[in-house]
């Protein structure tokens, strides 16, 4: 057995993760060809690197197939029911910051709060005969948020990409999506509701509560966490 560490397999998120571990004396690297998802860990023994899509890391942690994983808090909360029982947040990594927000067309001068959105949704349903559509891929987080806030007469429509374009294309009236700077929202003539922040997310190191650990694994894990100074 060895302790398995899951990290994002490509892009900025992978590079920043490698940098974060590197700054703590643990070198993570991809091995083999550019296209092969294999990795190596130097600077500590007993750790195996598993390269995964950031979106799959929550599931792998919950299944106990990896012991540690780096992914966004948004993905963990969206994908894992009762996430605190399945994983433990060890350390925010200080990058990959993104806010999950509710945004509406900027020309909706009458809608600035969730209270306005709720009233507009009621009027919209009466006029158009269907519930106001909010495009998102974060169904669970957005639904729970809107339920807690008492917003009614809306429906979530699935959008796995280019969500900011759905309003212009008339497949949704509003959106709930991740944004870091808000530039893409503005470019698409959308604005964020004043109280429309669903969740603040960033890349975070998680520990699985489900992964089997023998005596050696626990020693390796303790040594790693000490090196990372997250315990």
């Amino acid at each position: 057995m060895s302790v398995k560490l899951g990290v994002p397999s490509k892009g900025r998120l992978m590079d920043k993760t490698f940098d974060w571990f590197g700054a703590r004396g643990i070198t993570l690297a991809r091995t083999g060809s550019d296209r092969e998802y294999a990795g190596a860990v130097e600077g500590i023994d007993g750790i195996e690197l598993v390269l995964l899509s950031a979106g799959e890391i929550p599931r792998e942690l919950a299944a106990g197939r990896i012991h540690l994983g780096v992914t966004g808090t948004d993905l963990v909360r969206e994908k894992l029911g009762g996430w605190e029982r399945q994983v433990e947040e060890l350390a925010p990594l200080g990058f990959g910051q993104a806010d999950l927000v509710i945004a509406v067309p900027a020309f909706w001068v009458d809608v600035d709060t969730l209270d306005d959105l709720d009233a507009a949704a009621a009027a919209f349903r009466a006029k158009h005969g269907f519930r106001m559509r909010i495009a998102t891929k974060y169904h669970r987080l957005v639904r729970e948020f809107l339920r807690d806030q008492g917003v009614a007469d809306y429906q979530l429509v699935d959008s796995q990409g280019a969500t900011e374009g759905t309003v212009k294309n008339e497949t949704a009236e509003a959106i709930a999506d991740i944004t870091s700077s808000g530039d893409t929202l503005r470019a698409n003539h959308l604005k964020i509701l004043a109280d429309g922040l669903v969740l603040k997310s960033q890349a975070t190191l998680f520990r699985s509560r489900m992964a089997p650990c023998d005596k050696t694994d626990r020693k390796v894990m303790a040594r790693l966490l000490e090196r990372l100074q997250v315990n």
Binding site: G81, G82, R85, P105, A106, F107, W108, V109, D110, D112, T113, D115, D116, D118, A119, A120, A122, A123, F124, K127, H128, R131, M132, H139, R140, R143, E144, L146, R147, D148, Q149, G150, V151, A152, D153, Y154, Q155, L156, V167, K168, E170, A172, E173, H189, K191, A194
Partner: protein, 362 residues
């Protein structure tokens, strides 16, 4: 471990009791068209029911309860008056609490009858109570009709009343609306700025999407109208709070409500209905003197009930969901009835929980 066969046998026994009380046994499909449920409950139902789909029939849901299919069946071809019973599994998605069952058996009794709603309410409550006899349960009752009567009697604009009515089942938003309409909460600064602006559309961003300029202008006009309307008076807010916090045994609750009705005449008919119901329940042998009444009962859980509501809760097991629930749902028959409507009241029991409580005592 409670065996499935034991629960099935208990369900059959309960169903036979309901049949003996005059109900016709009916079956309902397990897969229901998602559209009807979504229209009724809104997006929240997706958190409670399992959704599946195929390319021919589109989205369908594993039935989260029997009420909707039974009402649809009755509205399509039912004779009046009618009493129905059913027994079968319902499916509830669980996202947070792994201890809660996502599949369990319900046995129900539903009455569709135009005459004498007090008697029908009492019939359903007394029957459900009788099959639960001997279990350590506490009954709670309420009446959503009191709240809707109080809202429609407020001395304020129709638009405000409609907004409050829409959120009777969402106490938090209801409270926020009351605070704003009564001037207890300040207007958000962005709204004040919007209303102060003579031509708010002048500098607006490009028009995109299906919600048009006309809709925005209509809402701004409504907001201006609302800003000009006088606030709901402090006295009315205090009365509404007093009504929502009535929590007594039925005779004392009636006394308090009659006192409130002096200043809130709009609730007087609803109080009379409560009194008539209490009389009908006593006539059926229910110990009304010791029965609890909570004016806010059923506001967070029971979205389609609009009159009498009740639930039976395990006294020693506050972690368990209610063992039986029920109530009146006149508006549901109107929404699902395609033009028709009929007053209706019903209740369901969970034989699995009944068995668990029995075994826990042995």
């Amino acid at each position: 471990m409670i065996m499935r066969t034991g629960i099935k046998a208990e369900a059959a026994r309960l169903k036979a009791l309901f049949e003996a009380a005059g109900a016709r046994p009916v079956e309902a499909p397990v897969l229901l068209p998602a559209e009807a449920l979504l229209d009724l409950y809104g997006e929240d139902i997706r958190a409670r029911a399992y959704t599946t789909s195929d390319t021919l029939r589109g989205e369908q849901m594993l039935r989260p309860d029997f009420t909707v299919p039974v009402v649809q069946m009755h509205m399509a071809d039912g004779a009046e008056p009618a009493r129905y019973t059913y027994a079968g599994e319902v499916f509830r998605r669980q996202e947070d609490d792994a201890e809660r069952a996502n599949e369990y058996v319900q046995v129900g009794y539903e009455v569709f009858e135009r005459d004498n709603p007090a008697a029908a309410d009492a019939e359903v409550f007394a029957l459900i109570q009788s099959v639960l006899n001997g279990l350590p349960l506490r009954a709670a009752t309420g009446d959503i009709g009191l709240l809707t009567a109080a809202v429609s009697g407020l001395n304020t604009t129709e638009r405000r009343k409609a907004a409050l009515m829409r959120h009777i089942w969402r106490p938090r938003r209801f409270r926020a609306l009351m605070d704003r309409f009564s001037g207890r909460a300040e207007m958000p600064p962005t709204r004040a700025a919007l209303l102060a602006n003579a031509d708010p559309m002048a500098a607006a961003a490009p028009v995109i999407g299906l919600r048009g300029l006309d809709e925005i202008e209509a809402r701004i006009a409504a907001l201006r109208e609302d800003a000009a309307a006088p606030p709901i008076s402090e006295g009315e807010v205090v009365l509404m709070d007093a009504l929502l916090s009535v929590r007594e045994t039925v005779p004392y609750a009636l006394e308090q409500l009659r006192d409130l009705a002096v200043d809130m005449p709009a609730i007087a008919p609803a109080v009379e209905r409560l009194k008539a119901r209490a009389g009908a329940m006593a006539a059926r042998g229910v110990d009304v003197e010791r029965l609890d009444f909570e004016a806010s009962y059923g506001r967070t859980q029971m979205e389609y009930y609009d009159g009498f509501v009740f639930g039976f809760h395990a006294e020693t097991r506050p972690d368990l969901p209610p063992v039986a629930t029920g109530g009146r749902y006149d508006a549901l028959t109107r929404m699902l009835g395609r033009g028709g409507e009929i007053p209706a009241v019903g209740g369901v029991v969970r034989p699995g929980l009944m068995q668990m409580l029995r075994e826990g005592r042995e």
